[in-house]
C-alpha cells in the first residue's frame, strides 16, 4: 500500500449557529499519483473539507496530517506543499492572465529564472500562451479554470486541491481539464477534485462520497458501481407517452430509480428484485428490456436508499389543456448583437403545446441570450420572439400572466419567509383573498413546506428551495413554463423529484422551455436545439441527435458523446 500523503483522522467540523455538523467523523487516506474525487451534492461538506485540508479552517475534533505535518500546527510549512483552487477561481478578473500569474508567483515566492521556467511550463500545459494579455474576466469558463489551475500549480505543490473545477465548464473543456490533471498525476502529485456531478466521479481513481457531512463510501468508484451490475436496464420501444410509463415504472416497489433517456426509460432495480412485468407497466406490445452498464449515480442512489416519487400531486391541481398541436413558442430569425459580438445568430424554432423543448449548449454559446429574448427580458437586435403568438416585449401583462418562470439558482427573496415568498408571488400574479389563501395552502401541502413556513428562504435546504421556487412559479397555473438551468447543483433525488413534477404538468398540456448543460436533463426533452457560437447547430429529439453523432468510436453514443461530437464537427466545418 503506497504511503498516505493526506491522512484524515476522525475529522469533524461544526459551525456555530448550525445544529448539524458540516462534517462528521471522517477518516480516510489520500495517496500521491491519483485523482481523488470528493463527490457529493451541494451542502454535503465538500468545500468545508477542502478548506480544512488547505489549512484555512481548524477542525472541531480530529486531525488532518499531510506528509507528517499537522494542518493546524504546521499550517505555514503546509502552504508550500498545498495548491488550492477555490470555487470562484481565485482570479482577479480585472487583471490580465500574465498579471494574475505574476501576482500568484509573488505570493508563492516564485522569482527569477524559476518564474520564467514555471510560466513556460504552465502556459504550455494550459495552452494559454496566446491569451497572456487578455483580462481574466474576459476568458471563457473553461479557460478561467485552466488559469486557476495554473496559478494553483505555481511553486510545485505536491497536493492540489481543486474545488468544483467542473462547474461552468462545457463538456469539451472539461475533457481538456481532465487531460491536464492526468498529466499532473503522472508526476506523483495528489489531486483532490471535488464535484457535484456524479458522472465525474467515474473518472476519478479514488472517491470519497459525501452526503450531509457523512462519508458514504471511500474507494475506487468502479468498486461501488460494479455492485449495481445486473440491476440496470432500459425499457426500449415504448408505445404511448413515455412520461406516463415512467410514472407507472416509478411506483413499482422493485424499482429504485427510473429516468427518461430519449424514447427509452432507464431503470435501476432494488437489490434482489426482479424486473417488473411490462404488461403491468403498460408500455406497449413491443416494449422490451435491455441490460445496460451501471453508472456511479445508480450506486449513489442505492447507498442513499431514497426513491424519487413517481406521482406529482401538483398536476392534480391543473385542468387539462387542449392538445391542439398549436405553436405556443416561436423564434423567428432571432438575432442579438452586443457590439461586434453576435450572441444569437439567426435562430428559429417552434415549440408545440405540451412539449418540453430544451436549449442545450456550452457556456457562452448563446443559449441564455436566446432564452432571455424568448421570455421578453432582452430585446432582439432583429427577428421576433413570440409566445402564444404575442410579442412579449411589446405586449402587456396579460400575456405574461400565462407564463411561469424559474431562474437559475431559484431567484427567491432570501430574507423573506417561505410564506411571505408564496404570498408575494401569488399577489404579483393577481391572486388575493380566499383564492390566494387557498392556492398558497395547496402549494404548502403539495411540496410539504409546512415545517418551513416561518423560515427564511435563504435558510432552506437546497431541495426545499427548489420546491419553493417551483411552487412560486406554478401558483397562477401558467400554460407555459420557462426553466433556466433548473437543477444545477441539487442532488439526484431532488432532481428526479423536480422532473416528476415537470413531467406531470406537461402531461396536462403545459409547455416547457428549458436551458440546461446537464446531459441527463436533456434526455427529458421532447425536442431540443444544440446551441453553439450563437447558432443552432443541430435540432431534433434526443434520439435523433444521438443518431446523428453515431460513429465508429461511439456506436451507442450517450448524450454527452453526441454533444461533443456535434460541436467538434461544427467546429471543423467552420474552420
Amino acid at each position: 500500500m503506497p504511503e498516505a500523503l493526506v491522512q484524515l483522522d476522525h475529522l469533524s467540523k461544526s459551525f456555530p449557529k448550525s445544529e448539524k455538523a458540516a462534517l462528521e467523523e471522517l477518516s480516510a487516506r489520500i495517496v500521491a499519483g491519483k485523482v481523488t474525487g470528493l463527490v457529493g451534492p451541494d451542502g454535503a461538506g465538500k468545500t468545508t473539507l477542502m478548506r480544512l485540508m488547505a489549512g484555512l479552517m481548524q477542525p472541531s475534533t480530529g486531525s488532518i496530517t499531510i506528509k507528517g505535518l499537522d494542518s493546524v500546527r504546521d499550517s505555514v510549512a503546509l502552504r508550500e506543499l498545498v495548491g488550492y483552487m477555490p470555487q470562484k477561481f481565485g482570479l482577479y478578473e480585472d487583471l490580465t492572465v500574465e498579471e494574475n500569474f505574476n501576482l500568484h508567483a509573488d505570493l508563492r515566492g516564485v522569482v527569477g529564472r524559476d518564474r520564467d521556467q514555471e510560466f513556460e511550463r504552465l502556459l504550455r500545459l494550459t495552452d494559454l500562451t496566446r491569451f497572456t494579455s487578455r483580462m481574466a474576466g474576459k476568458l471563457s469558463g473553461g479557460m478561467k479554470q485552466k488559469l486557476g489551475l495554473a496559478c494553483a500549480l505555481l511553486g510545485h505543490p505536491q497536493i492540489l486541491l481543486l474545488d468544483e473545477p467542473g462547474v461552468g465548464v462545457d463538456p469539451i473543456s472539461r475533457r481538456e481539464l481532465w487531460k491536464m490533471v492526468r498529466e499532473l498525476v503522472s508526476q506523483e502529485i495528489a489531486v483532490i477534485w471535488s464535484t457535484a456531478y456524479l458522472d465525474e466521479a467515474e473518472l476519478c481513481d479514488e472517491v470519497l462520497l459525501l452526503s450531509d457531512g457523512k462519508m458514504l463510501f471511500n474507494g475506487e468508484p468502479g468498486e461501488l458501481t460494479s455492485r449495481m451490475r445486473g440491476r440496470c436496464f432500459q425499457i426500449r420501444e415504448i408505445e404511448g407517452s413515455r412520461r406516463q410509463v415512467l410514472t407507472r415504472v416509478l411506483v413499482c416497489p422493485e424499482v429504485l430509480d427510473a429516468v427518461i433517456q430519449g424514447q427509452s426509460i432507464r431503470v435501476v432495480l432494488r437489490r434482489d428484485s426482479d424486473k417488473p412485468d411490462l404488461t403491468k407497466i403498460d408500455a406497449g406490445a413491443h416494449a422490451n428490456w435491455a441490460s445496460i452498464e451501471p453508472r456511479f449515480e445508480d450506486a449513489f442512489l442505492d447507498v442513499l436508499g431514497e426513491k424519487p416519487p413517481g406521482k406529482s400531486p401538483l398536476a392534480e391541481q391543473l385542468t387539462n389543456l387542449p392538445r391542439d398541436g398549436a405553436t405556443v413558442i416561436e423564434a423567428k430569425n432571432l438575432t442579438k448583437r452586443f457590439g461586434d459580438f453576435v450572441a444569437t445568430d439567426n435562430v428559429s424554432f417552434q415549440v408545440i403545446r405540451g412539449e418540453i423543448f430544451g436549449l442545450l449548449g456550452p457556456n457562452g454559446a448563446g443559449k441564455s441570450t436566446t432564452f432571455k429574448m424568448m421570455c421578453g427580458l432582452l430585446q432582439p437586435t432583429s427577428g421576433t420572439a413570440l409566445v402564444t403568438g404575442i410579442d412579449l416585449k411589446t405586449s402587456a401583462s396579460e400575456a405574461r400572466q400565462k407564463l411561469g418562470y424559474m431562474a437559475q439558482k431559484f431567484s427567491l427573496y432570501g430574507n423573506l419567509t417561505v410564506h411571505q415568498n408564496l404570498m408575494f408571488f401569488s399577489g404579483a400574479y393577481g391572486l388575493d383573498g380566499k383564492e390566494q389563501a387557498e392556492e398558497v395552502g395547496n402549494m404548502v401541502r403539495i411540496f410539504h413546506l409546512d415545517p418551513y413556513l416561518k423560515s427564511s428562504a435563504d435558510s432552506l435546504p437546497l431541495g426545499f428551495k427548489q420546491r419553493l421556487a417551483l411552487a412560486c412559479a406554478m401558483m397562477h397555473r401558467p400554460d407555459i413554463l420557462f426553466l433556466d438551468e433548473p437543477t444545477s447543483g441539487v442532488d439526484p433525488v431532488t432532481r428526479r423529484e423536480f422532473w416528476t413534477h415537470i413531467n406531470s404538468v406537461v402531461e396536462k398540456g403545459v409547455t416547457v422551455m428549458v436551458t440546461t448543460h446537464f446531459m441527463d436533463e436533456a434526455e427529458y426533452c421532447d425536442r431540443m436545439a444544440l446551441v453553439f457560437r450563437g447558432r443552432i447547430i443541430a435540432a431534433g429529439t434526443p434520439d435523433e441527435l444521438k443518431a446523428k453523432a453515431r460513429n465508429e468510436a461511439h456506436p451507442e453514443p450517450s448524450m454527452e458523446d453526441a454533444f461533443i461530437e456535434l460541436i467538434t464537427r461544427d467546429h471543423h466545418e467552420q474552420n
Binding site: Q379, S411, F424, A428, G430
Partner: protein, 370 residues
C-alpha cells in the same frame, strides 16, 4: 393592478423590516444622528483657548483680560511672555486667538486716546476664528460703554440685536429640522437604488419582469415603501426634536407631511434613476454617494446659497434637498409656522424635479428591458 402593487409594497416592507440588518440601517441613523448631530454640528464657538500677551500692566488691560477669561467661548486661558510664544501657540493650534496689549494701552485709555489691541486669529479655522473675534469685539464694545456710563456720559444710540424665530441663536433649532432632510434623503435613496440592484444580483428582478408586473408598477412598488419609511423617520426626528431638545414646532403637521411626501418623491426619482443605470449594488452605492455629496453641498445646509456664484445658485434649483431645507427650516414650518401659500410656493420645484427624474427613470427602465 392595485392587488399586484399592494403585493409589491408588502413584500418590500417585509424585506426591509424583517431583516435585522436593514432594519438597523433604517433606524440606527435616526437614533444616532438625533443623539449626536445637535452636539457635533454646533456652530457656537465654545471650549476654546484664548492666549494673551500683555505688555501693559495698567488697570484697563487687566480688566479687559478678566472679562475675556470669564466668557463662555474661552474656557482656557494662556498667559504669554514674549513674541516667540505668540508664534508658537498659533502655529501649534494651542490657541484660537491671541490678544496683544501694547505697553501704552492703559495709558492711552486713561488719556482718552484711541488705544489698540492686536488680535491674531488662526486663519486655518477661519469660521470659528471670525466668530471668536466677534465675541472679542462685543466685549470691548461693552467695556467702552461701561466706562462711558461710569463717567456719567450716555451713548447716543445703541444697536440691540434680536434674532427673530431663534432668539438665542440656538443651533439645535437649526440642525434638528435639517436632519429630517438629511436622513430621509439617505434612506429613500438607499431603498430605491440599492434594493433594485440587489434584486438584479439575486436574479429576482428578472423574475419580476417576467411576471405581469410592468416596470411602472415595479417603480411604484419601490417608491411607496421608501416614502412610508421616510414618514416614519421624519416622525421620529420631529418627536425627538420637540420632546428632547425643546425645539419649538410652530407650523402645521399636515404641511410638513406634504413637504416630506413631495421631497421623498423627488429623491425616489433620483434613486430609481441611479438604479436604472447600475447593475450591481456596488455601482448603486457609488451612485448614491455621487448624488449625496453635491446634494448636501448645494443645499445650503453647510454654507448659504447666497454666497455662491450666480450660475451655481441656478444649479442648486435642481437639488431637492435645497428646497426641503427652505421649507422645513430657513423660513420654516418648524420655527416660523410657515403658511400654506409659502409652502406651496416652495413645493412646486420638488414636484417638477420628481416629474423629471421619475419619467427619466421610467424611460431608462423600459429602454433597458425592451
Amino acid at each position: 393592478m392595485f392587488k399586484r402593487i399592494r403585493a409589491l409594497i408588502i413584500k418590500e416592507l417585509q424585506a426591509i423590516l424583517s431583516d435585522p440588518q436593514s432594519r438597523a440601517l433604517i433606524f440606527m441613523p435616526v437614533i444616532l444622528d438625533t443623539a449626536l448631530f445637535p452636539f457635533a454640528v454646533t456652530l457656537d464657538v465654545q471650549n476654546n483657548t484664548l492666549a494673551v500677551l500683555n505688555r501693559d500692566s495698567g488697570p484697563a488691560s487687566i480688566e479687559l483680560v478678566q472679562r475675556f477669561s470669564r466668557a463662555e467661548a474661552f474656557t482656557h486661558y494662556l498667559v504669554l511672555n514674549n513674541d516667540a510664544e505668540m508664534r508658537d501657540v498659533i502655529d501649534n493650534e494651542k490657541a484660537l486667538l491671541v490678544l496683544y496689549f501694547p505697553v501704552d494701552f492703559s495709558r492711552k485709555v486713561e488719556r482718552g486716546d484711541a488705544a489698540t489691541v492686536q488680535a491674531i486669529i488662526d486663519g486655518r479655522r477661519s469660521n470659528s476664528g471670525q466668530i471668536a473675534l466677534g465675541y472679542v469685539e462685543t466685549m470691548i464694545e461693552s467695556y467702552n460703554n461701561d466706562r462711558l456710563s461710569a463717567e456719567g456720559n450716555t451713548i447716543p444710540s445703541i444697536i440691540t440685536v434680536r434674532h427673530w424665530f431663534n432668539p438665542n441663536l440656538n443651533y439645535q433649532y437649526f440642525v434638528l429640522p435639517s436632519l429630517v432632510a438629511v436622513i430621509t434623503t439617505i434612506s429613500v435613496l438607499v431603498i430605491t437604488s440599492l434594493s433594485i440592484a440587489r434584486e438584479r444580483e439575486q436574479g429576482t428582478f428578472d423574475q419580476l419582469l417576467v411576471s405581469p408586473l410592468t416596470p411602472r408598477m415595479i417603480m411604484i412598488g419601490k417608491t411607496v415603501p421608501a416614502i412610508l419609511i421616510a414618514f416614519i423617520q421624519s416622525a421620529m426626528i420631529v418627536v425627538a426634536a420637540v420632546a428632547f431638545y425643546g425645539v419649538p414646532f410652530h407650523g402645521s403637521l399636515a404641511l410638513l407631511s406634504l413637504s416630506v411626501f413631495c421631497y421623498a418623491l423627488a429623491i425616489a426619482g433620483f434613486g430609481l434613476l441611479i438604479s436604472s443605470i447600475c447593475a450591481t449594488q456596488q455601482q448603486a452605492f457609488l451612485g448614491v454617494f455621487t448624488f449625496m455629496m453635491p446634494a448636501v453641498l448645494l443645499s445650503g445646509f453647510a454654507s448659504p446659497i447666497d454666497n455662491m456664484p450666480r450660475w451655481l445658485q441656478l444649479v442648486t434649483e435642481a437639488d431637492p434637498l435645497r428646497h426641503l431645507i427652505v421649507i422645513v427650516i430657513v423660513k420654516a414650518i418648524f420655527l416660523k409656522g410657515a403658511s400654506a401659500p409659502f409652502v406651496f410656493n416652495n413645493l412646486w420645484p420638488l414636484l417638477v424635479i420628481a416629474l423629471v427624474t421619475l419619467s427619466a427613470a421610467d424611460w431608462m427602465f423600459r429602454r433597458k428591458i425592451a
